[in-house]
Symmetry: C2
Subunit: 213 residues, 2 copies
DNA sequence: CGGAGCCTTGAGAGCTGTCAATCCGGGTGG
DNA sequence: CCACCCGGATTGACAGCTCTCAAGGCTCCG
């Protein structure tokens, strides 16, 4: 098992914290600044590009037949979105900035022609997609765990290196939302785990305690 | 809190109804029968193929550095898995049958050479991956909704056609696990929604009530 | 007619979200 | 150098909600 590879795979996944997947090789993106409420594209618009969130947060939503709004996805910093529009003429949902956001725009025509012309680039693109799919499935499975301490523990396990140490990037608060908890519940979970002797905390890092191989 | 408890929770999955993608065009799979507990591949094994579950259920799990097991994904009938192994020499997790399962095996060498040789097939494959990624994100977002009635309603909205009618395939019980609820909570949610006049139930179908466009 | 499985409802417990209060460390202005 | 302020970290109290366990009712089928 190659743990560094594993880390990279996860990076495609827990994007909110591990910033930035690799940009699309060989295609230089444009930047677009969005103010809260700004719309990047709407359902039915002709697809003009795929995107990556440099900073901010984008809500992908769809208006259902009965007129109500369904959130398809909340895209956070580092994440890419609307890849599927490469294979479709139009967007199938709205993309609206929740907060001030900086978006990288990869023009569809350019990406498309490049992927069509260079099978190797397409191969890499598919690889990227497959990795993100795996990551998404992992996140999904994590969500199935109802107990907050258990969920936090599993998350830590997935993020830990071979030494069982997880370096905490910035505020633990941000991790909370990543795991799908309020920060209070997250702190309580950490406290409980520490009390049980299953983790040890120090500033900027968390260490798993237990049978390390 | 023990693992068997989780197994039950984890069994909640939406794929049984939602998924069932097209098989890989132009490549004929082999079948493999697995008994409960049988291992399809292990972490570190040389990647020999990608798979689709014809029937049964496969647990993808990884042993973490501290020796504990983390479920990466529970694969259900219709779903494809281990696509990422196309881009990697080895598998990064274990695949174990939870129940008797029938697996379609697409040999890696064959898939790989076909995708390499025919850019159009690779394009389709990427399209498929992008679609699955979107679907996974949608499922993930649905999980974020805490209120059971709200979650059920959103799920119904996503599944409804333009007429706002959802035909219920078989037991409503199965839907419950798809939405990530116990069947009791699901019934209660439906009852609440009906009481509020937001849906109407009849045998075999549910109709959304509200401003249809 | 009987049974099996699904549908439905009830009661209670446990857990997380919410609201609030406190502590703490660093940066800032006086 | 120190008081002050701000945001994060932490803990407490409480309400609301879902899960669990349990008990009928209903429908289809043998």
């Amino acid at each position: 098992m190659n743990w560094s590879t594993y880390t990279i795979n996860l990076a495609c996944d827990m994007t909110a914290i591990i910033t930035a997947g690799p940009p699309l090789a060989g295609v230089t993106p444009e930047h677009r600044q969005l103010a809260p409420g700004d719309c990047l594209f709407s359902q039915g618009d002709r697809a003009f590009g795929i995107f990556q969130v440099a900073s901010g947060r984008i809500r992908l939503q769809r208006i259902t037949p009965d007129g109500s709004t369904v959130t398809i996805h909340l895209v956070r910093a580092g994440e890419m979105f609307a890849e599927a529009s490469l294979f479709s003429e139009h967007y199938h949902c709205d993309a609206v900035a929740e907060i001030e956001s900086d978006i990288l725009v990869y023009p569809k025509a350019e990406i498309s022609s490049r992927l069509r012309a260079e099978p190797e680039a397409l191969w890499q693109f598919a690889k990227e997609l497959a990795g993100r799919l795996q990551g998404m499935r992992t996140r999904f499975e994590l969500k199935q765990i109802r107990s907050a301490p258990e969920r936090v523990l599993q998350w830590l396990r997935m993020r830990s290196g071979g030494d069982g140490v997880i370096r905490v990037p910035g505020a633990a608060k941000d991790i909370a939302s990543e795991v799908g908890l309020t920060h209070e519940a997250f702190y309580r979970a950490l406290a409980a785990l520490e009390k049980q002797g299953r983790i040890a905390r120090s500033t900027g890092a968390i260490r798993l305690i237990g049978r390390l191989k």
